[in-house]
């Protein structure tokens, strides 16, 4: 029988703690495979966030640092400035990156920090139990927005990919999702491109991945995928928002 699924060398044997149907796991796999395929696992330092993916430091089979909530881009900056020849990435949720760490991510992008950020946007604070995130959709319920996010009270979702794409330091920014095999393949290509550009020293790269949180959305894994496609994508359109290689062509 053919092996249809092989665990990537980029992941350790530690069993992940993600809920059933959570797409964090798929995104981990895509990053791990990319690092393996590029042959850079031995020279990669990853930075884990605070959020559901906090234990990412145990899952990726490379050197890892665990950052304070939101500070991963600053930690990664410190690492990259000391070790410019290594591959450095951050893996961050939407609370981590788009709320408490907005300053750090914006300035890392502004500086054109030669790192790659994997931004997992699930429109919720997963780890702490489903509170409203800056990416929560208008009308979407959260434990701190029991009647749904009210625009007049809490504003509208922040679109990080679009925002960071305005910065000259950003080399490549794309929004993808992992709701279907085709989308997963696209996401993988995007992630690989981001790391390749980092290896070329082109500047800041970020892949925003729309991700599910069945647990806090109160949906089955399948329904969660549907909900994402139907509700999140219209607010967070998929696509490439910045690609410095395009200008040259």
């Amino acid at each position: 029988m053919a092996i249809v699924y092989r665990r990537s060398k980029g992941l350790t044997d530690v069993e992940t703690h993600y809920c059933p149907g959570c797409t964090h796991g798929i995104i981990h796999r895509l990053v791990a495979e990319t690092l393996e395929e590029l042959g850079v696992l031995g020279k990669t330092i990853g930075v884990a966030p605070v959020g559901c993916s906090v234990f990412a430091y145990d899952y990726f089979n490379c050197d890892m640092q665990e950052a304070a909530h939101g500070r991963a881009p600053a930690v990664a900056t410190g690492i990259k400035r000391v070790l410019p020849d290594k591959v450095v990435f951050t893996y961050q949720g939407d609370g981590d990156l788009a709320a408490i760490g907005t300053g750090e991510i914006t300035h890392a992008a502004m500086r054109g920090e030669n790192i790659t950020t994997i931004f997992v946007n699930n429109a919720i604070y997963g780890m702490t139990g489903g509170q409203m995130a800056p990416t929560t959709l208008v009308g979407q319920r959260a434990t701190t927005a029991p009647l749904g996010r009210d625009k007049s009270h809490a504003g509208s979702p922040i679109r990080i990919a679009e925002m960071l794409a305005t910065l000259d330091g950003a080399a490549y920014i794309e929004r993808v999702t992992v709701t279907s095999p085709a989308n997963v393949m696209k996401a993988k290509r995007a992630i690989k491109k981001a790391f390749e550009l980092q290896l070329e020293g082109r500047g800041f790269t970020m892949i925003e991945v729309l991700s599910t949180c069945p647990t806090n959305w109160g949906l089955t894994p399948v329904k969660a995928l549907e909900w994402l496609n139907e509700n999140m994508i219209p607010v967070f359109p998929l696509g490439v928002y910045k690609d410095i290689t395009k200008k040259e062509a």
Binding site: M64, A67, G78
Partner: protein, 355 residues
């Protein structure tokens, strides 16, 4: 070696470079901005890293990353900025990362004033961040001592794998004094090996992980106990202090940093009035030299202990712990950027002696 006239802030930056530090992250704030300014000019000349961060929070987290990647690294700020660094300092302690943090203190609370003060003593010695952690805190009183201690600060940080704070006040940062570079510069190539650093596995070893999360309470307890044991070793080995004319003194001033100099001037005034006064100066305010202070206080000649601070009274708590009731302890201080005068200090001693 010839003496050179150096400004405190610039001397501390140069001393760091001479101590083999090749990595600085910081954010401007008075009265310490000469440190990042100096670094921005001189770090590139020695192939080092200088980066002006977007905030003090970012700076300390850059320090965290760079330290985790094995670099000898530092940051500096003044009081309000050091408040923002508390998060990162706590994480560095949890993850056992070395690094040097300079606080050139100004008056607070809040925005306070840019003039010299010592209101951050509790923050420095009790921890302004969360959790059970300690910093080695050096409190130099002159610029020669600033540069002498800088190398030691980096060495102790590496030795114990913990952050070390240089606690100065705005006056020491801004003033100039002649100094000598006593120790030869340290080459960054000669620094201790850091096998724990995240420099890439080269696929030849298990991944290194820099982390302060121990989600299982048992594991977190074990981690804390291990830190406690480390801090106990620091307490045993790293207390530093200086005494001036304390033998046979009638009154003993206890002060660190700038006030220690004022206390010595006050002692000079008292001497002219026929009163023998001495000064006990902690050079490390953590670990605090409690036993040494206790010894000095026990002398029969000593009638009063007077603590002098540029605050409304913080270190005086440690003085009371050290003296432990054997002699009366009193306090004289000014805050918010006002520096007590030697006359005020001498009068406080007279009052304590009942004269």
């Amino acid at each position: 070696m010839a003496k050179e006239l150096w400004k405190g802030n610039e001397a501390i930056a140069e001393a760091a470079i001479r101590a083999g530090c090749r990595c600085y992250f910081g954010y401007p704030i008075t009265p310490q901005s000469e440190i990042p300014e100096y670094m921005s000019l001189h770090m590139p000349k020695v192939g080092g890293v200088f980066l002006q961060s977007e905030s003090e929070i970012a700076a300390i987290n850059m320090v965290y990353g760079a330290s985790g990647a094995g670099a000898r690294v530092m940051t500096s700020s003044s009081s309000p900025g050091v408040s923002l660094k508390q998060e990162g300092i706590s994480y560095m302690c949890g993850a056992e990362l070395p690094g040097v943090i300079v606080n050139v203190m100004r008056g607070g609370p809040g925005l306070g004033t840019i003039q010299p003060a010592q209101g951050d003593y509790f923050q420095a010695t009790r921890g302004g961040g969360n959790g059970d952690y300690r910093l080695i805190v050096f409190a130099p009183a002159n610029i020669q001592e600033v540069v002498d201690l800088m190398q030691e600060a980096f060495e102790l940080a590496d030795q114990y794998r913990m952050p070390v704070m240089m606690l100065l006040d705005g006056m020491i940062g801004q003033m100039m004094e002649p100094i000598e570079w006593k120790k030869p510069p340290v080459s960054p190539d000669d620094l201790p090996e850091k096998p724990w650093a995240t420099t890439g596995t080269k696929e030849g070893r298990a991944p290194n992980i820099i982390n302060s999360l121990f989600i299982d309470p048992e594991a977190c307890n074990v981690h804390n106990k291990r830190l406690e044991e480390k801090y106990r070793r620091v307490i045993e080995s790293e207390q530093r202090y200086e005494t001036n004319d304390t033998d046979g003194a009638e009154v003993i001033f206890v002060a660190y940093g700038t006030p220690a100099r004022l206390a010595r001037a006050a002692a000079g005034l008292l001497e002219k009035e026929g009163i023998k006064a001495g000064v006990f100066r902690p050079v490390t305010v953590w670990p605090y030299p409690y036993e040494a202070l206790h010894e000095v206080s026990l002398q029969d000649s000593v009638k009063a202990i007077v603590t002098v601070e540029m605050s409304t009274g913080q270190m005086v708590d440690d003085v009371r712990i050290g003296v432990n009731g054997v002699k009366p302890v009193s306090f004289i201080g000014q805050a918010g950027g006002v520096i007590p005068t030697p006359r005020e200090v001498a009068n406080a001693a007279l009052k304590a002696l009942g004269r």
